[in-house]
Symmetry: C2
């Protein structure tokens, strides 16, 4: 807008472009009077040109400001190259260089580290209580990110020096995401609490001498063992894949760490390449392109979905079209639905999606044996007859739950009666490892299971409720409607019990011994006790491990704060944990799964959501925010952009 005229009439003009004001944010309260407008009326000037010039101006400003940012980035970049090479002498304690030997096996005992004396800061931390963390999974990282710096002398021991964002691992198997976008160097995470990292594997723990036996690869490539003393020990070593006693698992891939993902990617692409060879027969080509996933849980389902996406979206572009026609993806699931821990509606949605995608879902099926070129399984038909079937296959992923890893077995054997769970180490509700001195050893994540007393919890709750309502719980009668309410509460509080609470009417009938149509309190208690017994453990998920890690960090922070007072009062024994912090309580925030250009969300308590591309974006944004660092977030965003622009890279190396 232009002002033009000879009379001095007051006016306020706030033009943002040559052609008119778009913002009056800075306008004064006085009305604007424009005596004469030199611009031709809208009708005369082309509206298209108007908007074109407007856009051009905006774009110009965009490019200008963008350039400023790029230049600023280069200036910043230039500042990141280190020229200064000055390095002074580093004080190192003699004990760090030549550790004393001792312990039951007369191994070196590592009481001091080479970086314990390198700065004021590290010297101050040297004599703090020794907190040793085994493993670098969700539990350990949750703890490390929440732990207050400087309260402990922290050491992390693990065979892998990176943290892996496991829930997105299936995406990395086919190149939707890059491997490095899912991992974060542990040393970077540890540096916040000024901790130490040792690349090695814990082999055994001496609970009375408070020594961990660690094995590591020494400078000549041989295994070497040493003792690491601890004041507080956190066991977060995870679990291995459950073989379920099936023969031939050497022909399968697992999906536990980043190397598994790379091997899977290479194997899938090698199969595609071999299928292209002119000497490969038709039958062999079909076998090579038959991909089998054993296990219909989130990992198996997401892998099948990602694999299918890759085959559907990227394969056709560069490989012979014949391949696309001969590809098959099979999911073998022992239960009656895939994603059976989710709400049934969501399972059905996922199954419908897979049916549309021509992913073959085989439910009620158990794998009997895996051979190099086929998988043999039994399937129950509608009449409960068990039929043995086989599928020729060129690739098999084995993802069927977790099993105890060697260190946990060693610990469980050592602790005897106190540890009678074959699948995980049992802790109390304070996450303290049962059978060890109180407050010394904690266990988190898949390695552990919390002994829960669900029935007691619920019964307590009901009793309180009854008393409040003025009834005597002893004589209270529970109708089927009441029972549904109770079951809902159990499901919310203990989501892992949902599987045992499916047929509420049957359960009710079964426990209503006197056929009264109502349950009395004793009958209800018995019912809940049975469900409790069946309810094995909290789900083996990232979510649970992370919550446990964060919980422990908060408790350790509190303990460190309280230490001075406790020392003054000479309090050394007793249930300090219980005195200082609440027991661990799992809050189920929901489960998600990607199912091939669609996603399902189970927020617990029957609240679910499933849908197409928008759900996929939601699924991504949830994991994006959950991601461990700014670095991984930027990398994830870049990877998704890369997939959109360039597709997945089908290369193996």
């Amino acid at each position: 807008m232009r002002a033009n005229g000879s009379k001095p009439i007051p006016q306020v003009v706030f033009p943002l472009t040559p052609y008119g004001p778009i913002s009056r944010r800075f306008a004064s309260d006085k009305p604007t009077i424009i005596p004469h407008n030199p611009l031709p009326p809208p009708g005369r000037r082309s509206r298209v040109l108007h908007y074109f010039l407007k856009s051009a101006t905006y774009l110009g400003i965009f490019i200008g400001v963008g350039t400023v940012f790029v230049v600023a980035f280069f200036v910043y970049d230039a500042s990141t190259y280190r020229e200064d090479l000055s390095a002074g002498d580093i004080p190192v304690s003699e004990l760090a260089l030549a550790p004393r030997r001792g312990g039951p096996k007369n191994l070196p005992i590592i009481e001091h580290f080479i970086d314990d004396d390198e700065s004021e800061h590290s010297r101050a931390q040297k004599h703090k209580p020794k907190l040793v963390i085994l493993g670098t999974g969700w539990g350990s990282i949750g703890l490390l990110k929440e732990l207050r710096a400087d309260d402990y002398h922290v050491t992390v021991v693990s065979p892998s020096n990176h943290f892996l964002f496991t829930p997105m691992l299936p995406s990395a198997t086919v190149g939707t995401l890059e491997l490095r976008s899912l991992v974060e160097p542990v040393r970077r995470i540890i540096s916040r609490v000024h901790g130490h990292f040792l690349k090695g594997a814990a082999q055994d723990v001496d609970f009375s001498a408070k020594l961990i036996e660690v094995s590591a690869m020494n400078s000549t490539g041989q295994e070497e063992r040493f003792y690491l003393p601890y004041d507080k020990l956190i066991v977060g070593v995870g679990a291995t894949t459950n073989p379920h006693g099936v023969k031939g698992l050497e022909h399968c891939h697992m999906l536990k760490d980043i190397n598994d993902a790379r091997q899977i990617r290479n194997h899938v692409i090698q199969n595609l390449e071999t299928a292209c060879l002119p000497t490969t027969s038709d039958e062999e080509r079909r076998r090579l392109l038959s991909f089998v996933v054993s296990g219909g849980g989130p990992t198996g389902v997401e892998f099948a979905a990602e694999l299918f996406d890759m085959l559907n979206e990227d394969l056709c572009k560069y490989y012979p079209k014949l391949l696309r026609n001969e590809i098959s993806v099979h999911v073998i699931q022992s239960r009656s639905h895939i994603l059976n821990t989710y709400d049934e509606a969501l399972s059905c949605f996922a199954e419908a999606r897979f049916a549309h995608d021509q992913v073959d879902v085989l439910t009620n099926s158990r794998v009997k044996e895996v051979q190099a070129d086929k998988i043999i399984f039994t399937q129950k038909d509608e009449n409960n007859n068990v039929i043995t079937k086989e599928i020729p296959m060129g690739f098999c992923l084995w993802s069927t739950g977790v099993s105890q890893n060697p260190l946990c077995k060693t610990i469980a054997d050592k602790l005897g009666d106190q540890q009678n769970n074959r699948h995980a180490l049992i802790t109390d509700t304070h996450l303290r490892l049962n059978g060890t001195p109180l407050g010394d050893v904690y266990c988190v994540g898949d390695a552990s299971t919390v002994a829960n007393n669900a029935s007691d919890h619920i019964v307590n709750f009901l009793q309180t409720l009854a008393w409040e309502k003025g009834k005597d719980p002893k004589t209270m009668q529970i109708s089927f409607a009441d029972w549904r309410q109770v079951a809902k509460r159990v499901r919310q509080r203990f989501p892992q019990a949902a599987g045992n609470l499916k047929r509420l009417d049957k359960l009710f009938e079964q426990y209503d011994k006197d056929r009264s149509g109502t349950l009395d309190f004793a009958e209800l208690h018995e019912l809940l006790r049975q469900i409790d017994a069946k309810m094995t453990s909290l789900p083996a998920t990232a979510q649970r491990a992370n919550q446990q890690g964060v919980y422990l960090a908060r408790k350790l922070n509190k303990l460190a704060q309280a230490r001075h007072g406790l020392d003054l009062n000479e309090v050394e024994y007793g249930d300090l944990d219980d005195a200082i912090y609440k027991p661990f309580e799992y809050r189920h925030l929901g489960s998600l799964a990607y199912i091939g250009n669609a996603a399902v969300f189970d927020f617990g308590g029957g609240i679910g959501f499933s849908g197409g591309l928008l759900a996929v974006y939601l699924w991504r944004s949830i994991y994006f925010t959950q991601s461990v660092s700014l670095r991984t977030r930027v990398l994830l965003a870049m990877d998704w952009g890369k997939r959109a622009l360039f597709g997945r890279d089908l290369m193996n190396f």
Copy 2:
């Protein structure tokens, strides 16, 4: 600029912001007159606020336009998910499914492919001349990118299904760049010319039956062999690293492909981790942190520089400081300078840079033997005495020139006298493999060497020059000044001769047999012939291979264009290549090397450039533009940004 005043002075105002005009691009011819400006004069309003509001407006527009782009990207992204699964029947020829057997070894002969009939397009190409390309390096990719689509039935055979941008490989060994940013799927490059790809390795060639014997991994993981017929064959299989007959190279890393880079990265980081272990002795720690590079060429020098950068910039942040103090990097070079093919001033700059960076450069040294924990080498001192020395080491890179790979050896043996070069296959100046039927087999890149007749070329040139100047070449006398001109021309035309043209005065003296102070024509010819004999081959660089590939593609395009006419005239024999296209001429565009937050450029003919960070950015931008695809360019830019923001990831997996 603000207008303020009551007098009607003509002025033109084109405000872009509320506070003043910044552009006069859209000015009309008529002057605009503003009688009164209601804005307060500059003095009254704070200038800081003024600029702040201006910046805020620009930033607002920037964010607004940015948001539009992001939304547009999401819309585009949403369009890339394929929902349509329709797949019709694909016609496949019976011969493609069951190839006939034949040839000397009675193997399957692959005349048709499974995707030869899948579309109109591929059917049209089916009976075009069969162009087979062995290898997916610089030569092959240069050819594929320049070849016109649809003139040939193209098949590429290689053990690796990706093209690797080799000049930046040293950057990938320490995580400055990611592995995937340096590779491009070959199928994506081939798809432009509607070619085929077979993942396999050529083992032998039958030049009379025109069959290539290919070995590939079949569906059961066994090696399988078949014949691939060709009309035109391009051998671009590269070379292996030259072992120079040294014992113990199994303790060294090579740096040839992307897996080497990954192994190096893992080994370096494993050494750092082992050095952190408390059980590692001081002496062993120093050995683990002693990195040796054998070979002072561009690869060795760039690796040493990248390694040093990583150790200097990233190590200190997360590893004990003691490590930094005990690190040493050694470069062992057999010549008197590192980067000895570059201009001497640049070599000296690089050496000075390494001296500043405390990278230990050992010149005039030859490795005798590599052992698991040390490297033994001989070094000439100033008095030419040979002294045997050793360095304890934890890592060794072997990068000392190229040697013939197995296929080239097989071919050379088969062709007998015609192929007497131990290092590479000899071609004529049309890149046709000597000893094979004219126009059938070409050879490019490191696998080949062009028989060059430099002396004849130069003498021809001089004769022409002499005649033009009215002199008889037979009686012409060449002064030292003339000789310098000749030498300059030789260096420009045959950069690989530069090494033999260093002491011009000595050479002149040596060949001036009659001590006349001038050379006669015969003496000069003899001198040049000697230099020619010493001048082994064109440099084994990406640049040369790429130029050869592009040259061949242009020739093949011309040949295809001319084919119809030649067929009509029944021209089948004779030197078609020479009739249709010029011989190959290498144009040296310069050499670059990164030397640790600095870079050197040798543009040939004594024109060089060396410098710090600005040179690094120039070095990057040259490789950025040379990069193979938009995809790799975007990834490279992202990687450089990542390094600036987050440093290198020190993780091994």
